[in-house]
Structures are given as C-alpha cells and as structure tokens.
Symmetry: D3
Subunit: 289 residues, 6 copies
C-alpha cells in the first residue's frame, strides 16, 4: 500500500516561467526515458518479483521514490506555464510573425488540453506507452533494463540542464541527475551481487542446448571485408568467461527458403498458383440455399 | 549500402506446421524484445555514430546480421501457417466447441490480413513501435540499451524453445539463442573497452554539478522502516568507484507546491478563482463587429 | 443508412489564413476532446444500443450531427492553410531565424502529408486513437462518458476561441460552443430521466455483493493525517442516497504478498530459485535427435 | 512525496490459478477502464490543481489509493499464472487440439514477455496509453472525467466478478467494486459542492458569446423525420437551468464550401489546377549551380 | 451536412450467434483494411478536395456510403454476441479445459469493455489508428490509396466469407464484396479519366529536376548477381511512357559518410571525442549563484 | 541474408546545417510515406511470397535498396543537426522571443533523445508504426499498396525539395525522387504483367458469389440528388471489363436493426431491460461460502 504527504522530495523553483522549457520537461515525464516509465517499471518488477525478498523490497523502495520525481517534474511544468496563456493572448493581438515565434517551441496542448498543466506525454505530445514498462520475470534482464533506463534518463537530464539558464530548474535537475547516478549504481550493484555467472542471460538455460558453434563469433556482414570492426569483442575470452571471441565472415548456411502456394481459402491471386475450387460455388450455394 | 543473396543465414525447418506457434514467433519479430527492434536500433546507432569509426562499423555489421534474423523468423512463421487455413475451414464445418478450440491461440490476422504470412506485429498483434529504437548519441547508454535488448531477447528465445517440440524450430532457436549470447557479450565488451570511467553515464557531465549529497544514497520510502532492502547497494564503494553507498530514510525537503490560479483564457471553473473579464464581452464584440 | 448534401451546417469563414491556428484546430478534429471521437462514440453507442428505442434514435441523431462538425473543422483547417506554402517558400529564401519563426507553431505534415488539408490527428500530429470511443453496453456509463466528452470538448473550444482574433473563426467556434452546451445538457437529461436509482453504476449489480464496509468511506492515504481533504464527500448521505459518507485512515488489511518461484520453463535466473532440470538436456536431445 | 509498506490494501487470494482469468484481469490494470489510468489521472489532476487546496488534497489521497489497487491486481495476475507454464508444457507434448484449447484465451506474453508476471497492458495485450489520462485544468470537466472512469471501471469489475468462480477473486473484486461505488459518489459530491452554476462547463466562458440560437436545441438529422428521439432533452427547462429545450430539424446554413486550388509547391496533380511554374526549372538550377 | 434514417443499407442476419466470428468481423470495422478507415479516408479527401467539383462530390457520396457499412458490421458484431455471455458463464462452472476452449478465439473486451457491442478496434483489439487515413492533396496519389484500401478490403471480406458457414453472414459479406468490386473500379476509373499523363505522381513536378540517370533503372542489390528478378520492369518502355527500363547492378556512389563529433551540450561519452568545457563549471556556477 | 559496405548509395551533402529541415526529413524516414515503411513492406512481401520466384526476388532486390535510402536520410538528418545544439545554447542566453523562434520548428527530441541523431519517428515525433507494413498474401493487392506508397512517397519528396534551398539536399532529393519514379513504374509493370484479369482483387474469388446486383453501381447518398458526381465511373464498361457502370440512388433495403436486451451478466442498467437474477445473491454466496 502507498501513502503520501503532499510535499515535494526536493525544491522546485522556477525563476522565470518558460513554456518552451515546459515542453522539453515533458520528455522527462512521459517520454521513453522519463519518470512514469521507471516508476511503473520498478513497481511492476517489485509486484511480479519471484525470488529473494530483498530485491522485491528494494524495487518497491525506488519505484515509490520515482512517483515523487514525476510529482516534481509535473510541478515544474505547471510553474513554467504560469502566465503563459495571457502572454500568448497579448501576442496574438500583434503582428503575425511574432505570434508564430511565440507559438514555436510550445506544446499547444499545454493550453488546449491541459489548461496550463502537465500531461502524460513526451516532448512532442506523444502519449506515454505501457510497452516501455519492462518486467521480464528474469532479475538480471530486468536489472539491465533498469541500468539502460537510468543511463538514457541521466543523459536526458543533463541535456535539459544545458538547455535552461533558470537557476531553479538547474537546481532541480542537479538533484535528479544525482539520483540517476545512484540508480545506475544501484542496479549495477545488484548485477555484481548476482555474481560472475549471471551471463549469458538467462543463466538457467543449459548452454549446451544453444548452437555452440556461433555463441562467441563476431559475424561480419561486410560485403568486401573492408571493416574496422575489430576490438575487444573479436579476440580474447568472452566477457561471460565461457567462450573465446572469434571473427567470422558471414556465410549463409540455410539455403533458399521455399514456401507452398497459398491455400485456396486465403484468396491470393490465381497467378500465385491459387486455383479456385471447381465446385466451390455449388457447395456455398448449398449453404446459403 | 546493402546487399542480399536470398539465402537464409541458418536453416529454418518446420516438421509440423503449427499456427499457434506462428503466433508466438511474432513476438520475436515485431515485439519489443524482437528482431525488428534490434535491427533498426543497431543500424540507427551506426548511422548516427559520432566518434571512433570502429564502433560505427561494428554496429553496422551486427545491424545487418539482424535483418537476416527477421528473415529467418518470418520464414518460420510462413512455414508454420502452411495448410492452416484449409484445416481451419474443415473445422469450421464441425461443431462449435472444436472451432473455438482451433481458433484459440491463433492470430486471426495471420489469415485475415497476412494471408498466411508474417507481420510486423507482436504475439498479440500489436504493431511494432518505432519508439523502441534507442539511439541516444551516447555510446555507453546505447551499449546498455543493447545489452538489455539482447538479455530480454534471449529470455524470449529460450521461452519459445520450451514451448515447442518441433525439432526444426528448436534447431533454429538454438542458433538464435547462441547469437544472443554473442551479442550480449559483444556489447559488454564495448563497455569493458570504454573502461572504468564509463559511469555514471554520461561521463562528460561534470560530476560536481550534480547534487552530490544524494548521488550515492539509497533512499528508503518505507513508511515504517520495515524493509529488507539492504545489499551491495547500501554499503561499500559505489560501482562506479566515485562514491560510498549509504542508506537514508526519505525526507521531503521541497515543501508544499503552490500554483497560481489559472489564467482567464484557459477557462477553468469560476470556483477555481478564475474570474471572467468584466469587459471581455465588449472587447470580443469589437473584434467580431 | 446515411446521406449528405455537401453543405456546411454552419458558416465557416476565415478572414486571414493562419497555419498556426490550423494546427490548433486539429485538436478539435482528431484529439481526444475532438469531433471524430464524439462522432464515433455516439454512433457506436447507437449501433450497440440495447433497450428503449428512443435512446438509440437520439444517439444516432447526434452522432450524425457530429459528422457535420468534423466537416466544418476540416474546412476551417483547409481555409487556414490557403496560401501558406507559397508564403513559407518565400520565407525560406530569407535569413534563417525568420524561417525558424515561420516554421514554429506549424504542423509540418499539413504540407508534407496533407498538401494543405486536414488530417485525422491532434494538434501535435498524434493520430486519432480508436480506444477513445467508449461504448460500454451500460447506458448510464455511456452518458457519463458523453458528458465528459462534451465538457472537455467545450473547454477546448473556448480555449480555441481565445486564441484567435479571426472573426470568422470566432463565429464558427461560437456555434460549436453552443452545440456543446446543448449536448452537455442532453446527456445530463438522459441521466435525469433514468432517475434517482441510476447510481452506483451499474445499478443491476446487487449492492449486497459488494464489500459494504468500504462502499462509502473516503480512505485517506495521508502519511501524517495532515490533509484538507474534507468536504461533501466525507460526511452526510452519499450522493446515490444509499450510504453515509465516512472518513477513514488507510490501513493495509491484505498482508504481504508472497509468490512462488518462477517455473523452470520461463527461465528466470538461477538466483531466483529457478533450477534447470537435471535431465532436461537429455530429454530435448531425444526430441531433436 | 510517497511512501509504501509492502502490504496489500486488501486480501488477494487465488484458490485455483487460472491463466485465462489473468488475461481478463489485465483489462483492470492497463485498460482504458483500468487502475493505471485512474491512478495517473487523479495524481496529475492533483499536481496540476489550481484553486482550493482541499481538492488538491482529496485528489492526492485517492490517486495514492489507486496505486494500491494496481498492486492488488498485479498480485492477482501473478497468482493466477502460478504453475501455468509447466502445465502448458505438459499439454504441448500431447495432441494438437488440446494445446490449442489451452493456449486459447491466454495472453502469450504473460509467459513470453512477463515470465508469469503482470504487464502494463489491457486484456488484449494493447499497451496502456497516456492519452487516457485526463487533466483539463477545469475542475468540473475533470470531475466528469472521473465519474466516467469510475462508472466504466465498476462495470468492468462487475463483469470480471461474473466471469470467475474463484472465491478469492470474487472477494477481491467485491472490495474493488465497493471502492468504485465510493469513488463515483466522491466525484459527484464535488460536483454537488461546486453548485448549481457548474454547467455548462466551463462556466467561466460568458454565455452570451456562444451562438445562443442553438444552445438548447436538439437538432434532428433524421432524413425523414421518422424518429423516436424525444424525451427529457427535447422539452422543458434545460438541466443547467439556463435555457429551454427545443426540437429542431437540421438545416444546413453554411452553404457549399469552396477551396482554392493547391499551391504549386505542394504538388497536387496538374488536373487539380496546379500549374508548374514556367521558369521554376531555371530558378532551381540557379540554386544548385 | 449528414442525415440518417436508422435503416440498414442491406440485410444483416445472423442465424447462429458466434462470438468468435464477431472477433473476426472487428478487422473489417477497425482494422487497417476496414470500413472506418475508408469512411474517414474518402470524407477527408472530399473535405480537403481542391480542383474539379465532381471529384469532391463523388468522394463525399462514397464516404457517406461507408458509414452505412460500419453500421452493418457493427450490427453483425452485436448479433453474433447475443447470448454469448450467458453461455460463457455456464461454461465457467464446468471443467477448466472447456472454459479455455470457449474463451479461445474470443475478444474478451467484447464482454469486458463493450458489453456485447462492437468496438473501434481490429480483430486483435488493437484500436483504429488515424494515421491510416490518407488524404495527400494529390488526387492521383489519393486514388491509388483508395484502390489499395479496396483491394486489401475485398481480400479481407473474401477471407471472412470463407470462415463462416452462417448463411446470413455470407449474404451480408457477398454484398460488401460486391461494393468493394465497384469501389476498386471507381477509383481506377478516376485514374483512367485523369489520363495517360498521370504518372509519375505528382505530375506537376518537372521531370528534368529529378536525377534522370536513375529514373527508369531497376537497381539490383543481389550480392552475386544470382537473381530471377527480371520481367516487364527491366525492359521496354516504362509504364508511364516516359523512359526505358534498364537493369543495373547497385553501386555505391556516395562514399563513406563522416559526421562531426557530438557537441559538448548533448553529452555523449568523452570517448566519443566530447570534451567537457574546462571552465564550464565556473560558468554554470555564475548562473546558479 | 544481407550484407553492407558502409558506403552511401548516393552522395549526401549539406551545405548549411538546418535543424528545422532535419525535422522535416524525419517524415521521409519514419512517417507513413517514409522509407522504413517501404523497406519493411517490400521485405515482408518477399519473405511471405508464395508463387513465382521472380516476384520474390524482385521484392527482395528493392526492399534491400530501401535500407540504403533510410541510411541516406538518417545521414542527412545528422548532418543537418551538426552544430545545432551549440547554436541553441548561445541563443538560450539571449532574450526570450529569439529562443522561442529558434526552438520553433525543431524536433526537441533530436537533442533530448537522439543527441543529434536521426530517430525512427515522423516529422512530428510520432513513432513508426508496424501497422503500415502491408503484406496481404495477394500479390495484386500488394502491388497496389506499393504503388500507393511510392506515390505518396514521391509527393512527400517533391514537397521536401520545395522546402529547402540547400543544393546538397536538393541533389539528394532529386535522386530519391527519381527512384520513386522507377518504383512507381516497377509495381505498375507487375500489374501489367499479371494481365487484364487481375481485377477485381482477389481474382480467385468466384464473382458469381458476390451480390452481382451492386457490383458495378455507383450508389449516390446525396439527400437531394443535387450532385456532380458523374464521370467515367457512372457509365460505360467497368475498368475490370466485367460489368457496366450504373448510377443508383441509395435505398436502404436492410430494415431497422433490432438487438436483444443485454445479458444479465454484462450489467447494463436495469432500465435497459436487464433484470438481476432473483436468486443470484444466494448462488454466489454458495460459492464464496
């Protein structure tokens, strides 16, 4: 169960409202790198957690923290929109080019749909999509999904930091950037704790069932062999410690695929070898009567 | 530029067509864990690549290989659908419950829309979504996105492996599972090569600009402190080597947020403190005339 | 069946084409508050209508009217786009900042995809989504969905009204705003006609089957009881007349959830308690041969 | 800020795991009538709240309660999936029709993607969509959106109640149905408190600016006048008390729309009156050189 | 403006309700090949029509007819669902496998969300998507979009015809299949009327502005020249009569792309050549103070 | 299988980076008229191909070429974004209106999410959607889908051509426009080769099974017969040569639809004729105990 106190986890201050920045902040709310995604991702991973209790607890702790981050960002959007519709209206009375400038870079739905409030969308107004919530039932895969979410999330936050001169907004973002530092470390700490036998994921699939001939080969699809794609991944022991990296040129071993003609009932064209049933008409008329 | 030879990278054999399994295979084609996603993800990362040429080349090599994996899976879907519409039609003539059984577990669009062919959708018929293609402009974040994709992808492939007794399908999946092993290792090898200063991502953001007070604290949101969420992430040096993990109880420091009333122009209710302009009516009539 | 006459329900006049306003109008066409939604919603409710004929008829009447509203708005978008691509081209020949201003606030797809025509999208170019069409099979729930649609729709229309100085557009919007007034009243009139026993919806579910202990309690999740959340909903007879409102502090009564470890076949990590089958390898080899 | 205790708000018990019912429960998690929607909807309304503090507080209280409802339902999905992959595997070894039956009615992604866990999707695997989160900046419109959400939500819950014989699931649903009763009443209580001048929404738009001729007319689009669409909405004082309902036959007053030919630059066909610029070729060559 | 009479364009009769077939019919309502798409597509093309009036009128005529087709199909869905929830409930009381069979092949949302009514979704419950509505501003492109819609639409309808033995449903589909025959012909008739200079589309773009070297070459990407891809498209006069088809082997003429390193502000990794500004920290501190 | 050489098919040169144009180019990458769509469409049609080998080969040739077009456009996006974040940052330090202008017309996610790279989205940031990939199993329907894709694609490319003065971009687009000329011709060549009996599609459905009364009638839904919708489609032999076009006034022949009341179990309102089961309560209590 969940509780709240109505207070912000950290101060949200906007020195000079900026509706363009409100639009950019939406990416951190409802974008794929944003806080709704990590919030639901960690909570679903907690709720679906099978295995040691401490991981469930930890995921719930941090998933709950992320709700407070959505709250901070939604508040930041609201504060950045204050006064903006009046300003817009004043501009609307002036010459066209200015209006165009003012409209440029704003999310029109912040006025039209949200009435100066935050929305569950990204910086282009594309709605949050539940497909981004990864909870795979495999804790190691989930941890990688979480590291990835925090890596792209922190990159996003630093870019937002660069794009504002508002000291309040910079202060808030400096907080969120630090939390992303912790969370990147946190999920990597779980991977470290899971130990050296974590990979390949899932580690519960017997490795001798996979096609071991190609399990550690870098396959080069370069048509002319003219490639610089050599590095740690083409020589030495594999990172999971279970193989030796090799470099192989791609060779098709599967032959040409060959499909049967389509069944009569799916109605390809006759030229595809589909022949209508000679007495089909009669049979159907029997049914229709 | 790209070339093809029409041959399969590895053999695709279906001993006994099974339209239910065709539906499951769609997850590996058009699902979030599937091959269209990794194919486009690696290719976009290659095309957008800024920095050492070898990473661009490597991404292009593997992105190109993934097209061949979509090809294998699409072929597998086609072969699993062969004969299935005729069989369905025969069943349709029989008693209802059997028809229901036969329809159950199939994707109806494999007949209705695809005419016994594969589609760019997942196992529930939900279309592939371009938002899943991660190319962040930060190579370390991208590598984590790639490890994550291959981790969930390999988990998916092993589950598909469990759900079929068709030896041809098991053989094909054993190949794909092995390639996922390599690709997990490959992206981790890049991270290893990037070295110990990779984290926190992005490493080009000066760390003293973040709020260092909370950069390595596990923040517990447990209402009563009754939690098992202690582990590697609550003590010792942080994984990035730049801090010491601590465990802190969540405390709101941001106070209660306070928003101004809505502007007149966005038309909240009067009860929200929105007061219609007294002479608004006159001003508008001036405009309308 | 449906008929048309090619004439507009009400005059659509644009004094000065404004492609920025064309973008805003798209919200009223293809947005969640827009006319495609209410059109399809009322028509589907009519087509799915079970019960008194008069409700089916009324829904069909108004659903049909809404097609004419899409028509008006699509015409308004077209008229606002006239001449705009030439103007844009002229601007493109000038210095960069001006081009940026001109592009700002426009939907680029009005030129690129629509060729100066309206689209089935919202003000951010996000496509209309069929999930918004509510037809629940319960007439009272449907009426509430309709009041909600007309309430957000009228709010949208008044905001559009504020954002234009074009007297033609204001005149058209004044018409649509009035129709939304009627439609809000219309759906509330049905609710009034359905009578005092309408709530809780559905009224055909025996109320003694619900958990009556919590059917009229406001549950407070405030962590410290510091809340102003008292009002009509925390005391007195409930609005449906069937209970007494109370104010209760949230208490978890469900205990800690406990899930079994994942099955072997879904391949969680070994650390989650998933143990690979000892003879699994042999069994599979039997199948593959 | 938010807190949790890891306990369930109410008991979640599954007597006999049923993966088909797990699929149905997903509608109450990630469907348009589901708990993620109301949770985010109430929280965003709280965070965006402008006006009396008590409404912000109340929305936050209930939005926080809804997180606990997602938690209950996610737990119910997990419990209904327990043992199901093993059972499925056993079936897979048997004859085809049975497998088909067993797969029928299941969400394959519960195994493939979720590993026996809940997902942020609806009963057909369609992901949760952020566009469903309504927060309009107008408290009365928001309250109607909330009544609608709880009305369709309670209808959904009663249907789920009918479709299970599991006493644990019936018990959990009886709890949720009761909470929906309260929440329907709660939002109606706010509307009652807002008072008789609430409608038409928004009430801050001067009513004399709308086209008053059509603000209370039921417009009949019946081609032949043969309609039963008369009722409370065609006579008497309007529900908002500000007009008299009338019944009018639809008459087009807007004339035939007339658009200019497309600009040269958007490249319609020549037959549409688009004439390529005679010296266009020369001008472009000047640029390209 | 639009009118209705409440009657069906053609008889909709269901001899034996079949909820599985109701699910399949949804593809013809809300799927990409379905009637909502063509309805909105033709109406938007009419409303956006620039050029000869007769095309606008014709599009409006047929767009209006398509509303009646949605109506017929929605009615067919409703009739196929009648009695189905009771039947389901009876089955639920019996042994599990039977329930699974009965649930298999049904859309659960037909009960859960629609209450035995049709929805604006496809056969997998994926919502109708406004992006499918093509109205390009170029009449010839639009006509091809329409031929394509009717071609895939008629293919869909014939497949539905094959999948039912219900004579009422076969009769309705025979009607819709015939209408698709007409509509395919209708849009091809417009193309014929537009005449031999229709292609390439758009015909208003001066052909000497395109790169004429590659305007009529079939470019072969076969890696080894081992291809059967020769036919009408590799020799003879082009179909548009403006060139001669040739067969060319693909040759890259564009060289290797080369991108600059990322700007500091977007925070790639340092290893990508991104160097943090030496005095960046100081500059920001100046701003924050 | 697929191969690459890392070189561009044709030169991609940007004389003056323009982030606004980068946004417009996205429509040609991830939009419905764009290259990801045709690439996947032709490849899926090849992989699903049933019938003569030469069509499979031809589709694979061109599908592979299209990957190179995505590559060119992605490179063009990257080059247009170079230097743009620094420029933006400089502007951010200046007065507000200028910032607004600079932000206007840009895709903010090009910085926030892509780090100056291309994305799998359209010009409004709406993600590519797999539903656009048409592969119907009927070669003639597929060819029409392909003509349509190339027709709207070439229209898009000519519009992009008009909207830039950059000679490098014009040169690249002149290449792509020419390729679209070829591809329009190519798919029409297949249709010519398939011969005069191609239509109506599918030609494998016995035409006497359709309702021949309405197979060649233009049905006019004009309410008053006041229509200009006469042309090639209302007289003469039909384009498929199998009928005579006629002009008919729409007449409803299907009567009024009539649905049964909803089943008890779906919980419509009592007023809809749904009567709760008298002993329902007792029966359920038996189950719950």
């Amino acid at each position: 169960m969940f509780y709240h106190d109505g207070k912000l986890q950290y101060n949200v201050r906007v020195d000079k409202p900026n509706p363009q920045f409100a639009k950019l902040l939406q990416q951190a709310i409802g974008g794929i790198e944003g806080e709704i995604r990590v919030c639901l991702q960690y909570l679903f991973q907690a709720w679906n957690s099978r295995g040691p209790q401490k991981y469930r607890d930890m995921l719930m702790e941090t998933g709950t923290e992320e709700i407070a981050h959505i709250e901070m960002l939604a508040t930041a959007v609201c504060l950045n929109l204050e006064g903006s519709s009046s300003a817009l209206k004043d501009e609307m009375a002036k010459a066209n080019p200015m209006v165009e400038a003012v409209m440029g870079g704003r999310d029109p739905r912040h006025i039209l749909s949200g009435g100066l409030g935050a929305m569950a969308t990204d910086a282009n107004g594309v709605p949050f999509n539940g497909s981004w919530v990864v909870s795979s039932g495999n804790i190691a895969a989930d941890m990688h999904a979480n590291v990835m979410a925090e890596a792209t999330g922190r990159v996003l936050a630093t870019r937002l930091y660069e794009m504002t001169d508002d000291s309040g907004m910079k202060d808030m973002l400096a907080f969120l950037i630090a939390r992303d530092t912790m969370h990147q470390n946190q999920w990597m700490a779980v991977l470290e704790e899971l130990g050296p036998d974590t990979h390949p994921i899932p580690n519960s699939f017997p490795s001798n069932l996979q096609n071991e001939n190609v399990a550690y080969s870098f396959i080069s699809t370069s048509v002319d062999g003219n490639t610089n794609a050599r590095g740690r991944w083409t020589e030495g022991t594999s990172i999971d410690g279970k193989g030796i990296f090799t470099f192989e040129k791609a060779v098709p071993t599967g032959g040409m695929p060959s499909l049967a003609p389509g069944d009569k009932e799916v109605h390809g064209q006759i030229e595809q070898g589909v022949k209508p049933d000679a007495d089909f008409f009669d049979k159907v008329k029997d049914i229709i009567g």
